[in-house]
């Protein structure tokens, strides 16, 4: 230490080198300190921690035992999963899920044609990645592919076209994951642009547009989705001649899409109203037209604010797709419901296993959506944090 002290006798007390900061006291850093501060800081915090740990100790081990350790992984029928002397405790019957896996994915889609569904899933995956991964090149082409080319290809791929040598597969045969994905994809893709239009219409000064938008939004939000689906499937066929009656799946698609749009409109409107009036006035002062103002100034900001709500709308929509079961469509959940009552697999744990599988499935999809939304939010909010 003596080296750092100046040798100049006139300035004996001037330090030449920066003294290394001393380490904070050991009880304020490191994992131990973190635990002490965050988990056991104070009476309330400590008791909450202990209760939560006890709760987890109570819930998690039996769950893991059921789902993993006592689970049955192989088998061809109920014999594998029933209680008997050989295995008195039986957990989840994953053999059942394995046996019915293709049914959950395709429903009753004809077996020789199922590759078409696989191709559709592949094309959809390309579209999703192209649109969502911001670092990928030519995302303008991606948009054309996703919103114009893909829907057309998918239509002919899934329905079939005798001209192209693809046998027709009517929608009553569709089922499982395919129906869930088609219904939610159409709902998600249609609802945002339609919702934006409705929201702009509602705030518009043109009376016709405004009245229409308000009437549509309020009417749709005023009736439950189930009612709309039910009316479309039960009453419509009685009033429309057989030849003009829309396909059952199409009816559900239209119902779900219009529904989602009305809710989306309100979400977008909230974003529009959150913007200070100065943004509008500034845009107008620059001489921008209405379209330019909306496209360049207002909507980018409004949509940014509403991303959390838009995504939670999407998540709600994804889960609402299970309601199409009431018009007799076999969505993902319904295929599980159907398979679990098959006497070939009748065993005490088959139904819980089916529901656990459904829960995992829906969780993965919804969690992926909300995680993606979070990363986008963080990217967009960088400006605000500066």
């Amino acid at each position: 230490m003596s080296k750092s002290v100046s040798s100049n006798p006139d300035q004996p007390f001037v330090q030449h080198v920066v003294i290394e900061p001393s380490r904070p006291p050991a009880n304020l850093v490191g994992p131990v300190a973190w635990i002490r501060e965050h988990l056991f800081g104070g009476v309330f915090n400590t008791s909450a921690t202990i209760l939560i740990v006890l709760f987890l100790a109570w819930v998690v081990p039996p769950f893991l035992e059921f789902v993993i350790f006592d689970a049955v992984w192989v088998g061809t029928d109920r014999e594998a999963c029933i209680f008997n002397d050989a295995h008195p405790i039986v957990g989840a019957c994953w053999a059942f899920i394995k046996d019915r896996f293709t049914f959950f994915n395709y429903g009753t889609y004809p077996i020789p044609e199922r590759w078409r569904v696989d191709v559709f899933f592949g094309l959809l995956a390309i579209a999703i990645i192209w649109m969502l991964k911001l670092s990928l090149p030519r995302r303008d082409l991606g948009a054309i592919y996703s919103f114009i080319i893909l829907p057309v290809i998918s239509y002919y791929l899934l329905i079939g076209s005798p001209v192209l040598g693809l046998p027709i597969v009517t929608t009553n045969l569709w089922g499982g994951l395919l129906v869930t994905v088609v219904v939610s994809a159409v709902g998600i893709v249609v609802s945002l642009p339609l919702g934006i239009l409705l929201a702009l219409g509602r705030r518009s000064t043109m009376p016709a547009a405004q009245v229409f938008s308000v009437a549509f939004i309020e009417f749709v939000r005023g009736v439950p989705l189930i009612t709309v689906l039910f009316m479309a499937s039960v009453m419509l066929p009685l009033f429309v001649p057989r030849e003009f009656e829309p396909d059952k799946l199409l009816r559900a698609l239209v119902g779900v899409a219009l529904f989602a749009s009305a809710y989306m409109a309100e979400v977008v409107r909230a974003g529009l109203q959150a913007l200070p009036k100065g943004q509008y006035e500034g845009a107008m002062a620059l001489g921008l037209s209405y379209g330019q103002m909306m496209r360049l100034i207002i909507l980018p900001q409004a949509l940014k604010v509403t991303i959390p709500n838009i995504v939670s709308n999407y998540i709600g929509l994804f889960k609402d797709t299970t309601l199409v079961v009431i018009v007799g469509l076999f969505d993902f959940l319904r295929t599980i419901e159907t398979a679990r009552i098959d006497p070939i697999w009748a065993a005490p744990t088959v139904s819980p296993t089916g529901y656990v599988y459904a829960a995992i499935f829906y969780f993965i999809f919804c969690f992926a959506m909300s995680s993606y939304a979070r990363t986008i939010e963080q990217r967009l909010s960088k400006a605000d944090k500066r």
Binding site: P110, N172, G328, I341
Partner: protein, 338 residues
């Protein structure tokens, strides 16, 4: 079972549609190249998609038999899954040609919903399941027993009626859903479980120890299940009706899927008329004369269909009971083909 709201709404529609649905269904079916068949959303043993997504069951076999009779191909069936709410509309509107969906034949349905039942392919009815350890032989010994039942159903009503009529003491324990009811029974909340007999057999498989439980012989209500068609098309009604009679007649005469080819050479006049080697019975229905041969060849007779789907050949193992042939103590009876 009772869907009064739907009934009221549909009655009006029925009148309206019944008048326009008069173009021959058989001709429409032939030109479409397939029978459009309404099923439920899955009921064990009656109509349920298997692992490959093919519909199987007693109700499915009715449609397969029809397709076999008309097209000589049991797979020319288009299945439309229907909920209990939209099943009658689908039939009235012409969306389906035949409703084969464990539907009970009742007067009000036939009189006001614009449909006509074409026979009974399964005599169902409410029954009881108890633990074997109780050593009960009859439901009449159930006095004082607690019975698990789904609330708000005709089942609950029938239960109370049965106990009152037999002067038994009833302690019913009700639950909102079928699953809950079965679970409670399995957990020992009650001594007996009651629902339609066919349901009891499939619920039994779901219990922790199925072999410890037994279904009592009493059937306390009438639930005759059968396929139905639109009113006002007698030719189509006849085709569906006689397709079912062929299945029963074949069992009665001992004609099976396996021996039907050998039976073509039979000298028995009844078999000759059935298989079309004598007479022109198929043609009089608007079908070909070997229609019955096709049905048996592709689907088998009623007994085979029963055992395969709900009987000893299936996990359900339902006894024939009321569904045995008339000459074996059951109710299944077919008028003669002549």
């Amino acid at each position: 079972m009772k869907k009064w709201v739907a009934t009221a709404a549909l009655a009006a529609g029925a009148v309206m549609v019944a008048s326009m649905a008069s173009a021959g269904t058989l001709d429409t079916v032939k030109s479409k190249g397939q029978v459009v068949c309404g099923h439920g959303q899955g009921l064990a043993g009656f109509a349920l998609p298997d692992a490959q997504g093919v519909w199987r069951g007693l109700d499915s076999d009715v449609c397969r038999a029809l397709a076999a009779a008309i097209f000589n191909d049991p797979n020319k069936v288009k299945v439309v899954p229907l909920t209990s709410k939209d099943r009658f509309t689908a039939l009235q509107s012409g969306e389906i040609d035949i409703l084969s969906r464990n539907t009970t034949w009742t007067l009000s349905r036939e009189a006001s919903l614009g449909l006509e039942f074409a026979g009974i392919n399964y005599y169902d009815g409410q029954g009881f399941m108890v633990r074997k350890s109780l050593k009960l032989a009859s439901a009449k010994e159930l006095s004082g027993a607690s019975v698990c039942v789904q609330q708000g159903t005709t089942t609950e009503l029938n239960l109370a009626d049965f106990f009152r009529a037999n002067k038994l003491e009833l302690k019913s324990v009700t639950f909102a859903t079928n699953d809950e009811t079965t679970k409670a029974y399995d957990a020992g909340r009650c001594d007996a479980l009651t629902t339609d007999a066919s349901g009891l057999y499939s619920e039994r498989l779901r219990l922790a120890k199925p072999d410890d439980h037994v279904v009592l012989p009493e059937i306390i209500s009438k639930e005759p299940l059968g396929p139905s068609v639109r009113k006002g098309d007698d030719q189509w009604l006849d085709v569906v009706k006689w397709t079912q009679f062929v299945l029963i007649t074949a069992e009665e005469l001992g004609v099976t899927q396996a021996n039907v080819d050998a039976m073509l050479k039979s000298e028995n006049p009844e078999i000759k008329r059935l298989l079309g080697t004598e007479g022109k019975f198929g043609e009089s229905l608007g079908l070909s004369n070997d229609w019955a041969y096709r049905i048996i060849k592709h689907v088998g007779n009623y007994g085979e269909s029963f055992e395969r789907n709900v009987g000893q050949g299936s996990p359900l193992k339902i006894a024939r009971g009321l569904n045995a042939l008339w000459n074996k103590g059951g109710l299944q009876y077919a008028p003669p083909i002549r």
